[in-house]
Amino acid sequence: MLKDLFHKKRKYATLTTQELAERRDNIPEGIMTKCKKCSELLISREIEKHLQTCPRCGYHFPMNAPERLASTLDEGNFTEYDQGLTSVDPLRFDGYPAKIEQVRTATGLMEAVVTGEGAIGGHPVVVGVMDSRFIMGSMGSVVGEKITRAIERAIERRYPVILFSASGGARMQEGVFSLMQMAKTSAALNRLSQAKLPYISVLTHPTTGGVSASFASLGDINIAEPGALIGFAGRRVIEQTIRQKLPDDFQTAEFLLKHGMIDLVVHRKEMKQTLSKVLDMHAGGVRHGSRSAL
């Protein structure tokens, strides 16, 4: 029939919301990821290619320590320090050893920070990278000791230090020992500063509490990733104290930049190049007091 000829063929299958949800659920785990900011459904490998950022809106997904090292250091150029330094349970805190064991298995990491030496753009450097998957990246005795030792080695070798923070703060399960790591790491940075060696702090999401109130805020240059949550007190605590709602951008990297607390906000894709430039600027050459000819 003529009528049949003009019958519109449906080009697309219409799916009900329920069917859609079912289909989405059927996508194998890990292939697709929804952007937390723009809600775009993205192919995970695409996000990986963009260093765990959203290719559409630039949202920065959390980056774990191995990925960070791989994307920051020159290839094949990393010697890890103090891998065998592990936590004990000084307060005999209920469930703490089991928790550590579980997180170790889940992440393949020994602790919440990985330290070592490598090179960026050919410049030797001591690095420390925190991983927020390990008990919120919290700082206990091991994190404090590893960072302190890394800084001490940098002083011995006369290397610059770069620390990437990602931490909820001091580790509660180690009580006052965790608190004191703030003093210990800051004291080591004092020595680094006395030795006139540069320290670059890279604040990533999240950097709060005792880590924000110690080494993360003490860089000669403080760099933050876009959108990172950075602050001392928690949002809820502040809202309860002052009894008013806080602005949406409160304690973001951009908020801190506006208030003069950090030097710059750098997209992750430009991080390595920025660090390399800064390191190059500090790599000797002509300087006052060096007596080298211009």
Binding site: D82, G84, L85, T86, S87, V88, P90, L91, F93, D94, S141, V142, G144, E145, T148, A170, M172, E174, G175, V176, F177, S178, L179, M180, Q181, M182, A183, K184, S186, A187, A188, L189, N190, R191, S193, Q194, G209, G210, S212, A213, S214, F215, A216, S217, L218, G231, F232, A233, G234, V237, I238, T241, I242, Q244, L246, F250, Q251, H259, G260, M261
Partner: protein, 327 residues
């Protein structure tokens, strides 16, 4: 008369009874002397049993007692010629943190400390002893000044924590605390810290990097308040009592951990029961520490201060060598 704490109630009631019997004896001429003597004996025993076995939570309550001596009470009682100095030279003057110059046993010193209030009105003015960044920056300014003139620095620590406010975050609460930690570690003059009441987290530590850390007998020092810990651990701030035990926050715990260098004994029942005696004991401790530290060279001082903090932490080390323990 100092307000009583809940756990002191049996003792208070017993004392009231003794007083009542005394009145009877005097007014009505009935002789209760034997009963009074017996009850007084019982009161002493009760006192021993209550104050001899204070739980961590009891200590928290004593450390927070409204009539516990504050920093300015210690300053007035211990030093002579105190001149309070104000302001951070950048933004303002923080009443939650006081400081100035004074003489300790004839030696010029710089003194800084958290300042709590006595009543609600004063506490609002003092922000309950919770400094904003200006407070820490004022402290640092005074400490750098002390360094310049070779004056020892005395830090009185008594705060629930740094103030959690919007303005405090805008002006860099984190940076202010961090800067103090870094600078105090390298201050080229003796630094003596004493936790007199609450040593609340980073806000306390920002005055706590020194050559000596003393604690009053019932003072506490912790990474987070018992209420905060309870809220995080069990989603219930009412479990603060349990958290106080779990977190190991007493002067005795910190001394056992090797973090506190000494404990200054308090009068029976706490510092507020006899402030004059407490102030005197603190004074003795400070004078002996200052005299001892003034004899050390700057290099010695800084090296041992660094090593003191470097040694804090518990971990194990697995390598090719046998297991090493750091205790």
């Amino acid at each position: 008369m100092a307000a009583d704490l809940h756990f002191e109630k049996p003792l208070t009631e017993l004392r009231a009874k003794i007083e009542e019997l005394r009145k009877f004896t005097e007014e009505k001429g009935i002789d209760f002397t034997d009963e009074i003597v017996k009850l007084e004996q019982k009161a002493i025993e009760l006192e021993q049993s209550i104050y001899g076995e204070l739980t961590p939570w009891n200590k928290v309550q004593i450390a927070r007692h409204a009539e516990r001596p504050t920093t300015l009470d210690y300053i007035r009682g211990i030093f002579t010629d105190f001149i309070e100095l104000h302001g951070d030279r950048t933004f303002g003057d923080d009443p939650a943190l006081v400081g100035g110059i004074a003489k300790l046993d004839g030696i010029p010193v710089t003194v800084v400390g958290h300042q709590k209030g006595r009543d609600t009105k004063e506490n609002i003015f003092r922000r309950f002893g919770m400094p904003e960044p200006e407070g820490y920056r004022k402290a640092l300014r005074l400490m750098k000044q002390a360094e310049k003139f070779g004056r020892p620095v005395i830090c009185f620590i008594d705060t629930p924590g740094a103030y959690p406010g919007m303005a405090a975050e805008e002006r860099g609460q984190s940076e202010a605390i961090a800067r103090n930690l870094l600078e105090m570690a390298g201050l080229e003059t003796p630094v003596i810290c004493i936790v007199t009441g609450e040593g609340g987290s980073g806000g306390a530590l920002a005055l706590g990097v020194g050559d000596r850390i003393y604690m009053l007998e019932h003072a506490v020092y912790s990474v987070i308040s018992p209420e905060g810990a309870a809220a995080l651990l069990w989603k219930d701030a009412a479990q603060a009592q349990r958290a106080a035990e779990t977190m190991k926050i007493t002067a005795q715990d910190l001394y056992a951990f090797g973090i506190a260098d000494g404990i200054v004994e308090e009068p029976m029942g706490g510092a507020h029961k006899d402030p004059t005696a407490t102030v005197k004991r603190v004074q003795e401790q400070l004078v002996s520490a200052v005299r001892e530290l003034l004899l050390q060279s700057t290099d010695e001082l800084l090296e041992s201060r660094y090593q003191k903090f470097k040694a804090i932490g518990r971990y194990q080390e697995v390598s090719n060598e046998p297991l090493k323990h750091n205790a």
